[in-house]
Amino acid sequence: MDSLITAAALALAAGDPLGALDRVALREDAPALALRGIAMAQLGDFDRAKLLLRRAARAFSPKEAVARARCVVAEAEIALVSRDLGWPAKALDAARTTLEKHGDRLNAAHAGHLKVRRLLLIGRLDEAEHVLAGLDPTPLPPAARAAHELAVAGIAMRRLRTRPARAALEWARNAARQAGIPGLMAEVATASLALETPAARLITQGTERPLLLEEVEALQASPALVVDAFRYTVRAGDRTVSLASRPVLFALARALAEAWPGDVSREDLVARAFGGKHADESHRARLRVEIGRLRAELAALADISATKRGFTLAPRQARAVMVLARPIEERHAAVLALLADGESWSSSALALALGTGQRSVQRALEPLAEAGKVQSFGHGRARRWMTPPVAGFTTTLLLPAPLPSS
């Protein structure tokens, strides 16, 4: 490393990106471009940062594989933070392998954590868990350790394992405090909030109440018949029937469960399942067919009997019937659920995460924006969406160290 690169890297490490830029502002050689890229990223100018890092990666010679790989990792992190989830995951994998091969364990681990966070965001939990299991957190410095534990907590929460989630968050809190990075501490605090905020609603016998994640977890062990509006399943004990691909049957099951032990009129069932205002003869005929199908699906768990005005649910073993619903239900709830992470998303990233087309995401975003439930900034491909009220876009960048480290 030369004198000014060292001076600039020291300034960056000391949290002075402007001081770093000052020293290498006019330089176009590879290490200077990389440092400028990282400094711009720290200053929040992601577009320029990405360009600089890409130019740096090209400017390093093929022999300087480690330096190139670090640029790729930095670019991947910026892509992740700006929710550019279409960014080539393969390039990150290759960079990670290079760093591992050359003994840059810290940056290799950083690349691994970026991969985990991306998989988490697009809901590929199994893969995220698998990659995370291959990363040993013990030798990591505090900031990297905090990122690791946040990922562990993220997976545990989505898996409804609150105890390990709490433990990981405690580790993350300590590590973030040790690292002394305010953004990171705030991120841990936000993640912890998810455990104290209602994660679901429980509807039973005509009443409803909010549930914390912990209580949702406890419900998994409950002997009740649970109609689960998160996974579109009906379960009792260890038997689960999935109605995920049969929305009409699920709507009927849910209407019956909400009314239990009472019954539901044919009109109401028609309205809930088919969206029809009046139940005419053809609706009634269709209702009979669908109830027949639902009865067959739920045979092992419950019976559905006809009453004078409609139908009622009769669980076989379970003593109670409950409905587990999202905390807020409205159209496009899935889009809102993703945006609720407080990050800014591109519509293509939302489409990727939801496994749907970009068009249908855009159709969902427009009415949500009109209702003031989401807001966008930027234009064209750079347009990003987020839920208001969020103060800034504070996702902590823990960019790779520009200098080799022990």
Binding site: M1, D2, S3, L4, T6, A7, L10, R23, R27, D29, A30, P31, S61, K63, E64, A65, V66, H102, G103, L403, P404, S405, S406
Partner: protein, 210 residues
């Protein structure tokens, strides 16, 4: 050209509070090294850390028998070893792209890292007197017994090489094991070459072949 693996005699460090070594020098008794925001001395016999001077120290270090010369930002500082005061500064020939630094016979020799050059300069004005080209990135530079040695670090490979000071022709090469970096080089006037490392914060003593 003679070519052999470097014989590493000893490793010094890591030293408390030192993350990387950016330059190495020898004052006749002790080894000094630059670690970013200070110059540090240790006793090469015992390996014991001695004192340090708080001064910007971003790359090569040299000693002329009375003063230290230290690359910092895009300048070369002349430093009083007793008080740590910066007595004078001259512009570095590479404008901050400089790495190694050594003193020889009244002039300074400065490595220009990625430009693969070594400049001989006037220590009063910084004027370039002569330039030698190398074939690899230049880190440390040192003179001993009329021999010009420099360290290289390019990609994943580092070595110490003796070059013809007039033509830059490669005369001898000592390879360091893969993954070991060389930043900073200084001879003790005898058969030892001290070189700094950035991948781990240590100073290594390498045998200078006869």
């Amino acid at each position: 050209m003679k070519h052999s693996p470097a014989e590493i005699l000893r490793e010094y460090g890591p030293f408390p509070g030192v993350e990387r070594i950016h330059g190495v020098s020898f004052d006749g008794e002790n080894v000094w090294f630059a670690s970013g925001d200070r110059l540090n001395a240790f006793d090469p016999q015992s390996g014991q850390a001695l004192r340090s001077i708080d001064v910007a120290a971003h790359a090569g270090t040299a000693f002329d028998g009375r003063h230290f010369f230290q690359l910092a930002n895009d300048r070369i500082q002349k430093i009083d070893p007793d008080t740590g005061a910066v007595l004078a500064t001259i512009p570095a020939p590479g404008g901050g792209r400089d790495s190694g630094l050594t003193w020889a016979e009244g002039t300074l020799w400065v490595g220009q890292y990625r430009e693969r050059k070594i400049h001989q300069i006037d220590p009063e004005t910084g004027k370039i007197l002569r330039t030698v080209e190398s074939s690899r990135f230049v880190t440390g530079v040192t003179w001993v017994d009329g021999e010009l040695w420099h360290g290289t670090w390019e990609g994943d490979e580092s070595d110490l090489r003796r070059v013809d000071p007039k033509t830059g022709k490669l005369l001898e090469r000592l390879d360091l094991p893969a993954g070991m970096t060389v930043s900073g080089l200084e001879s003790d006037g005898g058969d030892r070459l001290y070189c700094g490392s950035t991948s781990t914060p240590v100073v290594r003593a390498v045998r200078r072949p006869k």
